[in-house]
Every structure is written in structure tokens, then in C-alpha cells.
Symmetry: none
Subunit: 215 residues, 4 copies
């Protein structure tokens, strides 16, 4: 329909906004959202709060995230993705249990300072929201399932390395390790007085008794 202007290539080669810029804006909004969510919770945070914090206009924010729900979803899942990236190398190196637990929980705790937001607090908000949001629930379930599968792989390797007794079920161990790690998130978010080393030592010390117990 449109007759091409001779200089139309000019425009075409200069997209209104580059993909990087779009992504940067998205992150700008997500970061504003993270900040607000952590301060006030998911529902007490108004879109106006996020809009102000982002420095953009309402329309601009809505052009990136079509609804508050979408923004919540993105805030939670993007956060999860960020976590995954940081955790992968730990899985790869497969340190022995104590160290492993310490490294995972350090990542969980450190994630915080680095990004200027607290993954642990956000996690609590996300779990709560997942209770009434099937989509978010499914996404999280999927994420934790994959995480636990990785954990089972780690347990298997521990077993092969003689770090776990032969009868140990990697699946059960994975469930226990996941619980310990998620519990660390809760405990440190609520109580604020748990260090990764303490957790790791506690797990080790809890373990030791078993030798006596079992023998």
C-alpha cells in the first residue's frame, strides 16, 4: 500500500528503539518493581509506586507489561532465572555436601547485595502469590522441579564418590537438600540471624550423630 520513499531505508535501518534499549527499559521497570515489592509486598505496591520508582510514565510501563499481574510474574520469574544462572556452576563443580549447601545458601544470600534486591524476600512473596495464581504456581513448580532434578544428579555423584552410603536414595536426598535450602531462605528472611556457614555446620553436625546412631 505504501509507496516506499527513497529514503525509507533510512528509517528502516534506524528502528525507533533498539532491542537493547527495550531490554534496558524492561529491566529498569523490573528493578523498580523489585524495590517496591520488597518494601511493601506484592499487593500493597501500587502500579503508581512502580511507575514513580521507574521514572517512566504509566503508559510506558504498561507498554512493557500489560498488567500488574504480568509484571509480578515477570518480577518473580526473572528473579528465578537470575538465580539459576548463579547456581549452575555450583552444580557443575559438585562439592561435597557441606560445602555444597554452604555455597548454595551463600549464593541465595549474596544475590541480594549484588543486585540491590533481596532474592529471599522476593521468594517469600512469590510463594505466597503462587497460592492463588495458577500460572505463577506452575512456573515455580517447574523451576523447582528442575532444580531438584539437578540436585538428584548431584546426590548420585556423591553416592558414586562414596560420600553417601549405598542405600541412599538420591531422590530423597534431593528433597531434603531442597528443603534445607528453601528453609534457609525463610529462616534468614524472617529471623535475619542465620549465616550460610551456620547452616552448613548444623547440617554436618546433625549428620555426624548418624554414624554413632547407625553403627
Amino acid at each position: 500500500m505504501l509507496v516506499k520513499n527513497d529514503y525509507s531505508f533510512y528509517y528502516l535501518s534506524m528502528p525507533k528503539i533498539s532491542d537493547e534499549k527495550r531490554l534496558a527499559r524492561r529491566m529498569q521497570i523490573l528493578e523498580a518493581a523489585w524495590t517496591c515489592f520488597q518494601k511493601q509486598g506484592l499487593h500493597a505496591t501500587t502500579m503508581a509506586d512502580i511507575i514513580n520508582a521507574s521514572g517512566l510514565s504509566a503508559g510506558a510501563v504498561y507498554s512493557y507489561f500489560p498488567s500488574k499481574e504480568e509484571l509480578i510474574h515477570a518480577a518473580v520469574t526473572t528473579s528465578l532465572s537470575g538465580l539459576r544462572e548463579r547456581v549452575v556452576p555450583i552444580f557443575a563443580s559438585t562439592p561435597p555436601p557441606e560445602l555444597f549447601i554452604r555455597q548454595i545458601s551463600e549464593t541465595l544470600a549474596r544475590f541480594t547485595q549484588r543486585e540491590g534486591y533481596d532474592l529471599r524476600r522476593l521468594a517469600l512473596l512469590g510463594w505466597s502469590e503462587a497460592q492463588r495464581n495458577e500460572r505463577l504456581s506452575a512456573t515455580m513448580r517447574e523451576f523447582y522441579m528442575a532444580f531438584r532434578d539437578q540436585l538428584a544428579g548431584v546426590a548420585e555423584r556423591w553416592k558414586q564418590a562414596g560420600l553417601l552410603r549405598d542405600e541412599a536414595s538420591p531422590s530423597d536426598v534431593a528433597k531434603a537438600v531442597l528443603a534445607t535450602v528453601l528453609g534457609f531462605v525463610v529462616e534468614s528472611a524472617i529471623m535475619g540471624d542465620v549465616e550460610p556457614e551456620e547452616l552448613a555446620r548444623g547440617v554436618r553436625d546433625l549428620a555426624i550423630r548418624s554414624s554413632a546412631n547407625e553403627s
Copy 2:
């Protein structure tokens, strides 16, 4: 407006409602609130929802709980108290670690069916709310602190019974056990596929290796 109604004496001569009745009404409202909160979350539940579910009138509900926040607080803390009652005997009997963890998590999971509401889901809601509600946060912190103190006592006894090695820190063990148990709440609420026995076995299996490892 200031004219007294002809039947105003009526009110004054009315006998006060009995304390039992008051308590029953309170529970009736709390139960309605629990049901709604679990279905829709804390903030998506409206007072109207709770009022309808309770079968009382708005005014009646407000005469028991002066605000939604108060009701949320009561719903969460009452739930916590209920949990405490059930957990006390386990502390008292102090079974060995594996069994202990299994019993605690069974209580957490069973609590659900008995009362017709899921303590685990409510816990997630409460943790989330505590992020933005200092009062609730303080109450919870206090509760979990007491719980952890009890746990440290248990660990101490385990140590004395030779179930933990001598260098074990009861405080660290308490932190690890609390994390495990809280993590069980999260994992089973989100994933829905974790049984207390699996958790206990996983902890044991994770533990056992240490005997080999350490010796």
C-alpha cells in the same frame, strides 16, 4: 441525630453475651478467614468474603476484629499457637533426629487435614505479609525464636545422649533443623510431592555419609 431512640433502654438492659459465646464467634470468624485466605490469599480476600463465609454481619465481625489487619494478625498467630500445642509433646519426648524430623513434619502436614485448613499454605501467606508488617514480623520472629530455642535444647540432649558428636553446636543444629522443617513447608506447599518420611530419610542419608567422610 442525637435524639435517643425510644428503645435505647433496651440495649442497656441487654445481658452481655457470654465469654464462651464470644470465643465461639471469634473462632467462627477465624475459620471463615482461614478458608478465604487459603483460597484467595491475604489481600485478594475482601472483608466481604470473610463476612459472608462467617455467616455474620459486617458489624458483628468488626466487633470482634477492629480491622482487617487485626484479623490477619489473629489468623496467623492463632494458627501458630495451634501448631505450638501440637509440637510440645514431640519436644518433650525428644526422639532421635530422624524420627524427630519426621514427627515434626508430619504434624505440619497433618495439621492441615484435621482443622480443614492447610497450615503450610497459611504459613507462606504469613511470611509474605510479615515482610511489610512489622508487628506480624515481630510476633513470628518471637515464635520461631522460641521454637529454635526448644530445638537447641533438643540438640543439647541429643549431644548428651551421644547422638551428636561432642563438637556439635546445638545452636547451629537448631538452625539447620528449623531450616529443614520450614523448607518442608515450602517444598510441600509448592511442589506437593514431599512426604515426611522422604524428608526424614533424605536427611538421614545425607547425614550418614558424614560418618564415612569424617572418620
Copy 3:
């Protein structure tokens, strides 16, 4: 559940708000809506306009009409019902065509002053809205269909009275009369210079020629 108080009959016999009162409130809102709709059209009228005009609060208005669409629907259909009531006696008396058309159009035009709103203008708004609102469209179609059926009955009686020639199709006559009457609504709303008598005379004069024409 609720133990009845000795004076509960007191309350029960004094419903919070009587049906009459509810109906009066509904009319109060509808009248405010009619006024606003006519002044500004359906969509340019905001709920705030209607709320202000009604003298009630937003919540009160919404407790009677759960959405703007519902209010529009009620405004249009209530108006239609009012018209039906006024038109029934004319159908019953079945005056000859000219007079009939004059009486119907007089009713249409007079409706206005009596109720303080202009049925004709509201009709235009309703027709327009029906283009994009299937529910409203269906309601209107039904109304006009019934109206036209009545008209066909009238035409049949005219025929039997020898006021229409034997070959006349009551159905076609009904369609023509309905068109004339609806057209009167449009013409008088847009031009503002058409009187029922003029319309009736015009129809008659247009008609008369036919005698010459046909003979």
C-alpha cells in the same frame, strides 16, 4: 447458627431498607443517568457524572447497578417499558390510521416533557449502542418485534373495518407504520421541527393520491 435474640423480631420486622425505598433509589439513579445521557451521550457520560447527579456515592450507585453497561441497559430498557405502557391504550382503541399515527407520535413526543427526559434522544442513543452490544440489541429487537406484531394486529383490524384495501398485507403495513413512527423520532430529534399533526397529515396526503393512482 445465630441464636435469635428476644428482640430479633424487632429487626426482622424493620428491614434495613424497604423494597419501595430500593425502587425509589433505583429510579433516582436512572433519572440521573437519563439526564446525563441525554446531555452528553452514553459514552461521554462518566459514572462520576451520574453519581454526582444522583446525589449518591459511587458505592451506592454500584450497589444498584454493577457496571456502567448494566446501567445503560437499564436506562434504555426501562425507558422502553415506560413507552410500552403508554402505547397500549392506543393499540386497544385502534383509531383509524391517521389518528393512530398522530397519537403514537404524540406519545413519543409528549413522553419527553412529562418525565423530564426526552425519549426520542434516548432512543437514538440506544440504537447506536445496540450496534455494538448484542444484549441490548436483542432486547430492543424483541421489543420492536412485539410492537410490530401489535401493529400488524391493528392493521388487520383496519382491514376488517374496510380502512385498508383487501389485498393489503398487515405485515407490510406494520413495517411501514413502524418505520414512519421511528422515523418521526429521528426527524424530530435531529431537525426539531416536526409535529405529530404534520406527520399524520403528510402520511394522509401521501396516501390520498393513491386513491387517484389506483383507481
Copy 4:
């Protein structure tokens, strides 16, 4: 921001778009608008809808129509002009009443299919909008006034041809015919079951009785 782009000279040297092209673009936009308006009504149609449907950019559309109101005005009045063109030959040939009414209403109904939009539905939208838009109202009034003047001329000629009795008022006949025709628009748009022939027959049949009646 104030720095001139390197290619700013580019714009200045650009040849103006030809008038034909401008006109074609205008029609392209108007056609998009008609389509949207009919589907969704005047107010539920957003500028974005029209912009998308037109295949142009927001800026382009706004360079042809400086506001939505202007676009609505143009959509309605252009439509009216189109109708006028088609109706002129009928006025010129001045067929007898029945045939005249059939031809006019056929034009109204056929207009639809030919242009891919329904003049009748657009008319309803325009009438409704005219209630709150004095400018549109004036334009329409003027158009219908001219139409009615033409109709009066036709009636005069009918009279001279002996098709109307001597006492007939051309002005009243014009009002009646206009009403019938406008009513056809409403009836066929709302009910969807009226054919031009039926209308013409109905008018004729309604007429005949008068011969008996009057004689």
C-alpha cells in the same frame, strides 16, 4: 535535542506529496474508520484501532485528521455526501410515490454492500453523536433540511401531476416521506428483516384505505 540532524536538509528537499495521493490516503483512513466504527461504535473505537486498520502510522493519520472528533465528523459527512450523489438521480426522475420510496430505500440499503460498509449503521452512530456534538448536529440538520427541500419539490411535482390531492401540503408530505425513509434505516438496522419492497408496499397499502376513507 536542538542539534539539527545531518539529514534535516533531506526533508526540506523532499517533494510534496501529490494531491491525488493525499486524497487517496484520506480515503484509506476514512475507510478504516468506517470499518472500525461499524464494528465497535464511535467511542469504543480507539485511534489505535483506526491507525492499525489503515496501515498508516499515528503521525500520518493525525496529519490528515487533527483529532478524533474531526475524523468522526469527516466519516459521517463524507458518508452523507456519498448518499447525496446517489439520491440526486432519483430526485431528478421523480417516479411516483411508491416507486420513489422503494428506490430511495434501496439506495440506502444497497449503499452498504457496494462500499463495504453499512450506511444505515453509520447513520445510527452519527445521529447519536449529533446529540452531543453541535457541529455535527448542524451539519446533519443542514443535510437533511436540503434533502427535505428536495422532497418538498418532488411532492409539488407529484401534486401537479395529480398524484396528490390538491389540498396536500408538500411540506407535510416531505416530512412524512423523510420520516418513512429514516425509519426504514432504523428498522432495517435494528430488526434486519425489512426489505425496500415491503416498505413501499406497506406505504401503498396504508394509503389506499384513504380513498375509501375520504370519499
